[in-house]
């Protein structure tokens, strides 16, 4: 039987005046993920602990937290990876807080929706018919398609901290994912939504998003591609 010490940042805006750290000792056998530790605390020690989770398999992006000073997904972080079983869990920095480890993602998803994260086609196509894509064209999507919208990059980006209307790395990576897709025919429809100072030009290649991403994606690369595409379209009117 091993023990892990969880230090959790707690704050309930409804009743607390300042955040505090609560410490819980979680006994476990074999392996323990941070998310399992949080479950154990909630079930056996403090039912008021709030956190977000869903898939428990690093696919949904709900349980992104700031664990031992790094952006991680609680479900894919094993306590044995952390030094001496000491686990400090904090909500993602620089995001409005709902409670304890739960951040307010309203803006994040509003910005995500703003870049039209769906395939835009010229003609109304029959949903029964597939839209062919070559394996070579599909490979361009390999990186951006793995984004799980956890918000780590968005939380880590100084440009987001400084400008609340900046779309942020996650939304722009998603714009890249569709702009680079050979099946997408958005042409000028999506472009005005990111070709401005609240879009790609607000990125100063600080690369915190690359450091933060638990999926090891590269939002900077996507944003730089969008910058290039936007400039080419302005200069030469070239589409795609």
């Amino acid at each position: 039987m091993s023990e892990a010490r969880f230090r959790i940042k707690r704050f309930d805006p409804a009743s607390d005046t300042a955040p505090r750290y609560d410490t819980f000792v979680v006994p476990y056998e074999g392996n323990l993920t941070v998310l399992e530790g949080l479950f154990s605390i909630q079930e056996r020690q403090d039912g008021s602990l709030s956190f977000r989770y869903c898939c428990r398999a690093a696919v949904c992006g709900s349980c992104a937290m700031y664990i031992n000073g790094r952006y991680r997904l609680a479900c894919q972080t094993n306590v044995s990876q952390l030094p001496a079983g000491d686990v400090t869990v904090e909500p993602m920095p620089h995001l409005p807080l709902v409670r304890d480890l739960v951040c307010d993602m309203t803006d994040f998803f509003a910005k995500y929706e703003y870049i039209k994260p769906w395939l835009i086609r010229d003609e109304a196509h029959d949903p029964e018919r597939e839209i062919p894509q070559s394996p070579k064209a599909r490979r361009k999507l390999d990186m951006p398609i793995d984004c799980i919208l956890c918000g780590c990059c968005y939380s880590s980006c100084p440009s987001v901290w400084g400008e609340e209307n900046y779309l942020g790395p996650a939304a722009l990576l998603k714009a890249y994912r569709f702009e680079v897709d050979s099946r997408d025919q958005a042409r000028r429809e999506r472009l005005p939504n990111f070709d401005n100072e609240r879009g790609v030009y607000r990125c100063h290649t600080i690369t915190n998003c690359m450091e933060a991403c638990p999926k090891e994606l590269n939002p900077t690369e996507g944003i730089q591609w969008l910058k290039g595409a936007a400039v080419r379209r302005r200069l030469f009117g070239r589409l795609k």
Binding site: F11, Y66, T220
Partner: protein, 139 residues
């Protein structure tokens, strides 16, 4: 954001581990230093115009002091850092070396250090040649 909100939302926590973040911050600081220097430089040069050559001459005598020669080295570093990190950022804007931006930074800084070494040699030999006490003239 109110102070309570700021404390609750972890503002300022971490995020200072990435090299890109430091490169960006120092890049901005060096840029501001250079802008301030530029205006100071224009001010000193134009002092000859509005208050006669003796003002400029006394300013130049002051700048000949070893302390100012060392400050020049700081200026050289600001120029080299800003210019070479600027090259790195340009490369990234062309989509080059984004995956390897840390290695590109190291290479750029190596070039900057070599450049600084060259100018440091110049500065110290100047001080040695023109000030009898060498760096001792500082105190």
């Amino acid at each position: 954001m109110s102070p309570v909100d700021a404390a609750a939302t972890n503002v300022g926590a971490g995020n200072w581990k990435g090299l890109g973040m430091w490169a960006w911050l120092l890049f901005r600081i060096a840029g501001i230093v250079l802008v301030i220097y530029l205006f100071a430089h224009i001010g000193v040069i134009s002092s000859a115009r509005w208050s006669g050559h003796s003002t400029l001459n006394s300013a130049l005598t002051l700048f000949d002091h070893p302390l100012f020669v060392l400050l020049d080295l700081l200026l050289v570093w600001a120029v080299l850092f800003h210019a070479l990190n600027g090259v790195r950022i340009l490369l990234m804007d062309f989509g080059l070396g984004i995956h390897r931006h840390k290695a590109v930074f190291v290479v750029c800084m190596a070039v900057a250090v070599v450049g600084l070494g060259f100018f440091a040699l110049k500065a110290f030999s100047y001080i040695a040649a023109h000030h009898a006490g060498g760096l001792g003239g500082l105190v």
